[in-house]
Amino acid sequence: MLDLLAGFIIELRAAGLPVSLTENLDAMAAIQHIPLEDRETFKYALAATLVKNHSHWKQFEVVFEVFFSMRGEQYEITDNALDLDDLDDDEVGEGQGEGQSQGQGGGGGEALSPEQLAKMLLDALRKGDQAMMRALARQAVRRYAGMEPGRPVGGTYYLYRTLRNLDLDAMLDQLMDQSRAEKGDEGLSKFEERLEKDEFNQRIEQLKKEIEAEIRRMLVADRGVEAMSRTLRKPLPEDVDFMHATRDEMNMLRKAIYPLTRKLAARLARKRKYGRRGPLDFRKTVRTSLSYGGVPADPQFRFPKPHKPEIIVIADISGSVAAFARFTLHLVYAISSQFSKVRAFVFIDGLDEVTRFFDGVDDISEAVHRVNTEADVVWVDGHSDYGHAFGVFHERYIKDVGPKSTVLILGDARNNYHASQSWIIKEIQQKARQVHWLNPEPKGYWDTGDSIVGEYATYCDGVHEVRNLRQLESFVENLI
């Protein structure tokens, strides 16, 4: 058991979860108190001792499933749980007689026709029958995924194949039709319908998860634990690269950014409050000393009024770096109370001020969305042209840059071989307090191809590689 746990912890660490030695010892102590045959409790016991950050939970779950998948009897139960006789009786009741003979003959359910499988799945979804859904997910994977041992394709490929064959969207429609029909003449009010739909959606999500887990299990059986856990290793949300994030990862990032901004704001406010200690406040010290009989036991200090920078964000929102700009704008606005003023400009080859979208709006993601759809940023062809965009900025807004402004320029500086116009950055630097360039590309790619970040860098107070939330967070924190 100890070896097993040690192996598990190595896997966790490889997946990027920080597990300390004490936590390791705790886990070992914990499992002595837990009945090992209770898988759920076992899992929670390990989680409570090893995972100390909720955003790591998903990672933990995957590693746990993979690592312990081959070592439990639990998964065999599902086969028996697929009690076909029971099922078919049900169907007979509903006038679907033909299933019976085939079902019994098959035993393992292999003989079910696709229609029957679909029908059973529909039934299970309608009733929310979890055990049945699990069993059917297993069936569906066997039937549709077309898994071939040793074939080097990822789990997502099999998942796609299975889901395509099941056609869950159509199934959702059928489910809705059924519940409408059940209601009889008056039908569902749209409000009820909406609730019903959410309900089914959630069940279908669950089914998808079951299917995914089943595929994972089969892959583990095929390739072995070690190989699988390597392929399933996913980056933690804060390490996801902005430029290469998949859609799922984007969603994950969107969810991660809100708590992150909240934390950052709290931390900055605190820093502002406690970070600086001013000179001795003599009057106040004397006043408090009276309660100690005139002994100045508790010196009082004056807190200097903290300086609040004015932020000007100039962001490239062309396709390749749009996600990065979005997150940065989101973050900057979420902590805008830390700044005296925030102004935002976006560009591709033209430039537009977007501060108006954020004014008086308390839903930042909505505003960011409007920036992407409504801002007027295309001048000629919609390919990044930093030189022209800076030109527009210089022409219209340079007067607003003053000694209090901190200018953040976001972009990969891939200029499509247009003129760089870097003299504008120089002029901005002379007027502004600080100019920072945030580049979402890895440092190794800078100044390769049409990237001219080096040319601008000469006139910036700092050029930073900001590829993921972690780097973005630390940059913003250091800025203040």
Partner: protein, 293 residues
Amino acid sequence: MDSRFTDVGSVRADLENANYLADDGIAGVVYLADRLQKPILVEGPAGTGKTQLAKSIAEITGARLIRLQCYEGLDEAKALYEWNYKKQLLRIQAERNSDVEWDALEDDIFSDEFLLTRPLLEAIRAEDNVVLLIDEVDRVEIETEALLLEILSDYQVSIPELGTIEATQIPMVILTSNNTRELSEALKRRCLFLHIDYPEMEREKAIVLNKVPEISENLADQVARIVRSIRTLELKKAPSVSETLDWARTLVLLGIDQVDAQTATDTVNILLKYQSDINKAIKEFAQNDELSS
């Protein structure tokens, strides 16, 4: 010391008797905390019953609940112990005219008599069974966290003038955090971690039925489902369990037994606390109505 619980199942049953519906995770961690004699760090969105968990544990173990509410600026004097300056001062002044040696006096004024115990020290020194709740630990500054470390790992408090005070019995310690900032590694390492999220629909329904006894099964079901739907929207602050309960109570008071779009729109301000969220939810309800007409 004897363990408080025999197995995970009994924890769950006991908590249920105390009107706290725990899921597997919660019961398992509580059981482990008791066995391993470690504190539990409970994290999760506001209003999911983190503080209630501590209260319920106190209730089922028949222990006294000692609560330390954390806030910005909390310090040693408020959390651990404090010397009673005024009393010490009085004492010194009273002795001024007699010829008691300073050494003797010093020994005297730094004794138990002049010590004001604060929650942490009180929990350590308690003779009876106690549950120590350190609420919203994420509100204190990171430096202040350090003063919790000694008590959490060794169940002792060191007072320079008096020496180390060790716990007479190991109290059950529960820390809660709303996760407004990352807690330090040192603190996390010493605790079992438990994340309490919004409950599943079934459990939420059970909670509603449990806490609002006048409610009908049907209405509870509707409430739970609507709340779940609202939580899927992208909101600033999703409705918490306590808000769900408030809403359920309101509906009962208004004598409503069937929630339709209109009632939902009228009462949604109980569930949601931001105007933008309310607008979003109302829009969502209304949209559905338009489709039907």
